[in-house]
Structure formats: structure tokens, C-alpha cells
């Protein structure tokens, strides 16, 4: 399967810049998720790749072939929509066979490929049903089979799970991932759901206001966000502003002091003393102690604070804790629930703190 390359892609709607000079490469057989909030340009990018929109600038290459000006029907791209877009006047069989009939595939071959595609999405025996006779999950699987049966060079999925209920959505994430890996088809997946992106993707491209802000594996994006937007968009994050006041080059640590005198030690090999930084801390990386520990853990940040409030989330309690002038969110087990105004002690491993240069 060929990869996909976007070079300096831009798309404007009037004065609004929907996609701004986007450079992105999607490797052969990889599933790349375009992730971002509404209006970040992810769907516009996908529509440009599909040929449903013409970019104002830039080029699109599918493998070595330049497809920027090709109409959608000549790109060999399979497309799955949020609303499934199954043609209601056709049976499941006809929905799948349509693309093959357009390619003048022999009838026996069409039957074989439709059967195979339906088996692949576990819907054998549903050939004669109409879309209205299927559940949402089944319709989405038919839509996936319809996109795959034409053996596209590239699979594009535009928020395909958004209309499904939470449980089905979670099941389908794994199904899509497994199917994509089995077929080895290069895929672009658009979503605003970070959990979906983390589960499904080989790599994630984060878009914000039409620009690409970070590309990386789910773990890289989660653990090493490149800027404050990414840190805030993926997962829960607390932010603290400060300046690097000391560094230990041998150990690769720096110390950040906030304007209210709070000091935090973090790992960084690149940032220098005097650099203003944003400190990003995930709630699950904070350990909470209701009482001051007799022995403070070595080589870790030790802070004290006051519980503002806690929200019970089932498996954890999400606390907001006032530390100096900063509010940190921390997740703790549900064993002993802390009360508002209670004094609490926190430890944060330096390795778990992300520093973002301002």
C-alpha cells in the first residue's frame, strides 16, 4: 500500500484559513489520526485528500502519484462517513457491489468480493437487508466494507464512530484497528475524541487552527506534549508557570521556580537557566498523602496543599488541590476520600513533569 504525502497544503473559505501550510507524511500501512477540536481543519484536510475539496495551495501525493487535481472517483480512496451514508434504496449487497459494477468487474467476481468483505466485518448473511433494517453499528460496518471492497489505495475515516453509543464505540475502535492492521491499508482517521485517537493510531497529528502542532506516537503525544495546547487537549493537565533557576547537567535535571516561590525539579537536557517555562503535570502522576510521610521519598518533588474539592469518577477521585497560588488536579484511589479544606501532601517524580518552553 502506498503512503500519503501532503506538502504545504492550504485551504481557505473566504477569509477563514481552514488548513494552513500543512506538511504531513503518512507511511505505508500506517493509521494516522488527525486530532483536534472542532474547526481545527482536520475534516477539511481529509476532504482535500479525498478530492471532495480542491486545496488552494500545496500538493497531495499518494505513493509517487500526484493526485492533487484528480477527481474523487479517480483517486482510488475509500471513504467512511460519520453518518454511514449507505444508500437507502440499495440492499447491503448493492451498496457494496456499486463500486465494483462501476469498475466493470465480472458478476461472479463481484459476488465473491462482496461476500468476502461482509465476512471481514462479520455481516455474512445480511446481503439482502436494507440499511434501515440494520443497527447503527452494523451500518457502520457495512460502510467500512463498502469502502474496502473496492480495494482502495488509502482508507479515509471521518469521525466514523461519533454516532454510536459509548460501548459500541469502544468495541468498534478495536475492530477498525484490527481490520486495518490485517489489511495493511494506509489509513487516515479523523476524530476529536482523544481516547479514540490513542487506541487506534500508529501516529497522531494534532491540528489547531488549521496548523499542524505535533506529530507522534500516542505515547509521545501523551507523555511529551510539544506545547501547552497539546498538553491541554490530550488528557487532563495542570499548568504551572515559572523560570528555570538551576540545572544539574550531569543528571539532566533543572529546577523551576514559580513567582510565588514554589520549586519543582524536572528532567530536561535542552532547556537552560533563565528560560521561562510552562510546567505540565498529569493528575495520575501526582501521589497524594493525607498525612506528611515520616520519610520523604528521595529525588522527588514534595509539596503541600489544600483540597478544594473532589469529584468521584468511579475508579478514582479527581481532586483539585491548591498549592501556593496554583491549582493542581490529582487522581487518587477511592479508599480514603479526602475532604475539602483538608491539608494534603503531594509527590511528583521529576521524570513525570513536562516542561514546555514559553
Amino acid at each position: 500500500m502506498p503512503g500519503l504525502r501532503l506538502e504545504n497544503l492550504s485551504k481557505r473559505f473566504g477569509k477563514t484559513v481552514a488548513v494552513d501550510s500543512l506538511d504531513l507524511e503518512i507511511r505505508d500501512g500506517e493509521i494516522m489520526t488527525l486530532l483536534g477540536p472542532s474547526g481545527c481543519g482536520k475534516t477539511t484536510t481529509l476532504r482535500c485528500i479525498a478530492g471532495l475539496l480542491t486545496p488552494d495551495e500545496g500538493e497531495i501525493y499518494l505513493g509517487d502519484e500526484r493526485v492533487t487535481d484528480l477527481p474523487p472517483e479517480r483517486r482510488g480512496v475509500g471513504l467512511v462517513f460519520q453518518n454511514y451514508a449507505l444508500w437507502p434504496h440499495m440492499t447491503v449487497y448493492d451498496n457494496l457491489a456499486f463500486g465494483l459494477q462501476l469498475r466493470r468487474v465480472a458478476r461472479a467476481e463481484i459476488q465473491r468480493r462482496v461476500s468476502e468483505a461482509l465476512a471481514m466485518v462479520r455481516l455474512s448473511g445480511f446481503e439482502e437487508r436494507y440499511p434501515r433494517q440494520l443497527s447503527g453499528g452494523q451500518q457502520q460496518r457495512v460502510a467500512l466494507a463498502r469502502a474496502l471492497v473496492i480495494e482502495p489505495k488509502l482508507l479515509l475515516l471521518d469521525e466514523p464512530l461519533s454516532n454510536l453509543d459509548a460501548q459500541l464505540r469502544e468495541e468498534m475502535r478495536f475492530e477498525i484497528r484490527e481490520l486495518q492492521k490485517n489489511l495493511g491499508i494506509t489509513s487516515v482517521y479523523v476524530t476529536h475524541d482523544q481516547a479514540e485517537a490513542l487506541v487506534l493510531s500508529d501516529r497522531i497529528a494534532i491540528l489547531h487552527e488549521g496548523r499542524l502542532v505535533q506529530v507522534g506516537s500516542p505515547a509521545e503525544i501523551y507523555n511529551r506534549p510539544g506545547n501547552r495546547f497539546v498538553a491541554g487537549f490530550i488528557g487532563l493537565t495542570s499548568f504551572v508557570e515559572g523560570t528555570i533557576v538551576r540545572q544539574d547537567a550531569a543528571k539532566g535535571y533543572v529546577v523551576v521556580r514559580t513567582r510565588d516561590g514554589l520549586e519543582l525539579c524536572a528532567r530536561s537536557d535542552v532547556l537552560q537557566t533563565g528560560q521561562e517555562v510552562t510546567v505540565a503535570i498529569r493528575p495520575e502522576h501526582i501521589e497524594l498523602y493525607p498525612e506528611e510521610p515520616a520519610v520523604r521519598p528521595a529525588e522527588t518533588n514534595f509539596l503541600s496543599g489544600r483540597v478544594l474539592r473532589g469529584a468521584y469518577l468511579g475508579d478514582v477521585v479527581d481532586y483539585r488541590i491548591q498549592v501556593g497560588e496554583w491549582i493542581l488536579r490529582a487522581h487518587a484511589g477511592t479508599g480514603a476520600i479526602l475532604k475539602p479544606d483538608q491539608e494534603v501532601f503531594l509527590t511528583i517524580a521529576p521524570d513525570r513533569i513536562t516542561l514546555i518552553a514559553v
Binding site: 472517483e73 453518518n83 449507505l86 444508500w87 434504496h89 456499486f98 462501476l102 469498475r103 434501515r132
Partner: protein
């Protein structure tokens, strides 16, 4: 027990009230539509002495049989051509976004608001032996002006009907096309469909209800139009049933034959009306089941 009876009485009164409220509308419908309709059919079976007879139909068979088929043929041909034009126009307006499409979208409705009598006058000027069309064709060398195209016949009549009905049909068809979500079209294009295939395989089947309504309304209107055939082909043989009806009433005061001709017109549209009613009823039940 007494309370239950009182409630039941109130219930019966409440049940009757809607019918009372509907009575004026139903009364008007019966007086203005049903009575003349039934009466004209009944009178078509009355002979000169007031007895039941098929004499009027025998006269229609003898004098106007060719016109009955001519009316049917013209109506079917005009409606079919108008349907093709309207579907092409609606598809263009649905799938195009350029300035020309917007311009066409703004002006295509104008013929709907022009009365048939004005259309007829325009067509006479346009299609006459020395009318605008023949003069234009002569100027570009396609026609000898001394032997112009004869268009004040079934051809001109068909042209007039199509010119008048196609925009009206396009309005209905386009509303159907507009209801087809873009993603259905995009999905078709992504699996390889070119625009003609999108129109034929996706847009038209998904807008079958709108197209059916447009066909039925245009056909019914065409069958019943008097002014356009009267002013374009008048008393030529063959002519339309509506011209014959006017002729029988105006020159002979013969309402019996006129009613028989009218009844045959009803029959022409009856088949379509039955289809339309069955289709809408079935659609209603289907939608109910879906809900």
C-alpha cells in the same frame, strides 16, 4: 357510575366536535369539487331525452376518438420531455456551485408565474412561420424562410408545454435532490461514480417520491390545459379534448358530449391519481413503521 357516564358523554361530545369543526371545509369540498365531478359524470350518461344512455360516448367515439388519443399522446410526450429537462436542470443546480448555476437558479422559476394564455401568445410569436425561431434559423442558414418550419402543430404544442411545465417540475425535483445529503453523493464519488452515474444511480432513485409528484402534477395540469392548445393549434385535426369540450359547449350547447369528453379526461389522470394515492398512503405507513 354517574360520573363515569358523564365522562363518557363528554367524551362522545369531544369526539363529535372535530367533525363539526371540519364540516365547513368538507362541505365546501363536496359542493365545489365532488358535486360537479359526480354530476358531470352522471350527465355524460344522460341522453337528449334525459334517460340513461351511452349516446354521448358514441358521438365521442365517432367524432373525437382521434383527439382523445392525441391529448393522451401530447400529455405523455410533454410530461416525459419536461421530466427529462427538469431532472437535468435540477441535477445541474444541485451539483454545481458556480456563478452560472446561481444565475440559472435565480431565473429558472420565471415561467411558473407566466399564465398559460401569455405562454400561448409568446409561443405564437416565437414558433410562427415567420416567427422569431424561423427567422433566427434562417439567418444562420439552417432554414429557408420561404419554406419555414411548421411548428404551430403538435411539435409547437409539446414545446410550449415543456417550456411551461419543466421549471415547475424542476422546482419539485430540486427540492427532492436538495434533501439528499451530500455524503450520499460523496460516498458514490469515492467508490468511483462519475456525475452522470451519481445522478442516475443515487440522486434519481433517492428522490423518486418528488419526481413522481412532479410527473403527476405536470401530467394532470397538461391534460386539463385549454388556452395553450386553443391558441396554438385551435380547431386543427387532431386537437386536444379541452378544445373539443369548449367547441361543443360554445357552438352546440352540447353539455352531454362535453361531459363525456371530460369524463375521458378524468380517466386519463385517474390511473396516475390512484398510483399517487397508493404511493403516498404506503409511504405514510412506512414512515409510521420507521418511527
Amino acid at each position: 357510575m354517574a360520573e363515569v357516564t358523564a365522562k363518557a358523554r363528554r367524551g362522545r361530545g369531544g369526539g363529535f366536535l372535530p367533525f363539526l369543526l371540519l364540516l365547513p371545509a368538507v362541505g365546501l369540498m363536496l359542493a365545489l369539487y365532488a358535486y360537479p365531478f359526480v354530476s358531470s359524470i352522471y350527465r355524460s350518461f344522460l341522453g337528449s331525452k334525459g334517460a340513461l344512455s351511452v349516446a354521448n360516448y358514441a358521438k365521442v367515439r365517432e367524432l373525437y376518438w382521434r383527439d382523445v388519443f392525441f391529448s393522451l399522446e401530447i400529455s405523455v410526450l410533454s410530461t416525459a420531455l419536461a421530466a427529462l429537462v427538469s431532472i437535468a436542470l435540477a441535477a445541474y443546480l444541485r451539483l454545481s456551485t458556480g456563478w452560472f448555476a446561481r444565475f440559472i437558479g435565480a431565473i429558472y422559476r420565471f415561467p411558473i408565474f407566466i399564465p398559460f394564455v401569455v405562454v400561448a401568445q409568446m409561443m405564437r410569436t416565437f414558433l410562427a412561420p415567420h416567427g422569431l425561431l424561423n427567422i433566427f434559423l434562417a439567418q444562420i442558414g439552417l432554414v429557408n424562410i420561404d419554406a419555414p418550419l411548421e411548428l404551430l402543430n403538435w411539435k409547437g404544442l409539446t414545446f410550449g408545454f415543456v417550456w411551461k411545465q419543466a421549471p415547475f417540475m424542476a422546482l419539485i425535483v430540486l427540492s427532492g435532490f436538495e434533501m439528499v445529503d451530500d455524503t450520499f453523493i460523496e460516498a458514490a464519488r469515492s467508490v468511483g461514480a462519475r456525475l452522470p452515474q451519481v445522478i442516475v444511480r443515487i440522486l434519481i432513485p433517492m428522490s423518486r417520491a418528488s419526481i413522481s409528484v412532479a410527473l403527476i402534477l405536470a401530467f394532470t395540469s397538461t391534460v386539463g390545459t385549454f388556452t395553450l392548445p386553443y391558441m396554438l393549434i385551435g380547431g386543427q385535426v387532431p386537437t386536444t379534448v379541452t378544445v373539443d369540450i369548449a367547441h361543443r359547449v360554445t357552438y352546440f350547447g352540447d353539455y352531454g358530449v362535453a361531459n363525456a369528453l371530460g369524463t375521458l379526461s378524468y380517466l386519463m389522470v385517474l390511473a396516475l391519481a390512484i398510483y399517487y394515492l397508493r404511493y403516498t398512503v404506503r409511504k405514510g405507513i412506512y414512515e409510521y413503521q420507521e418511527g
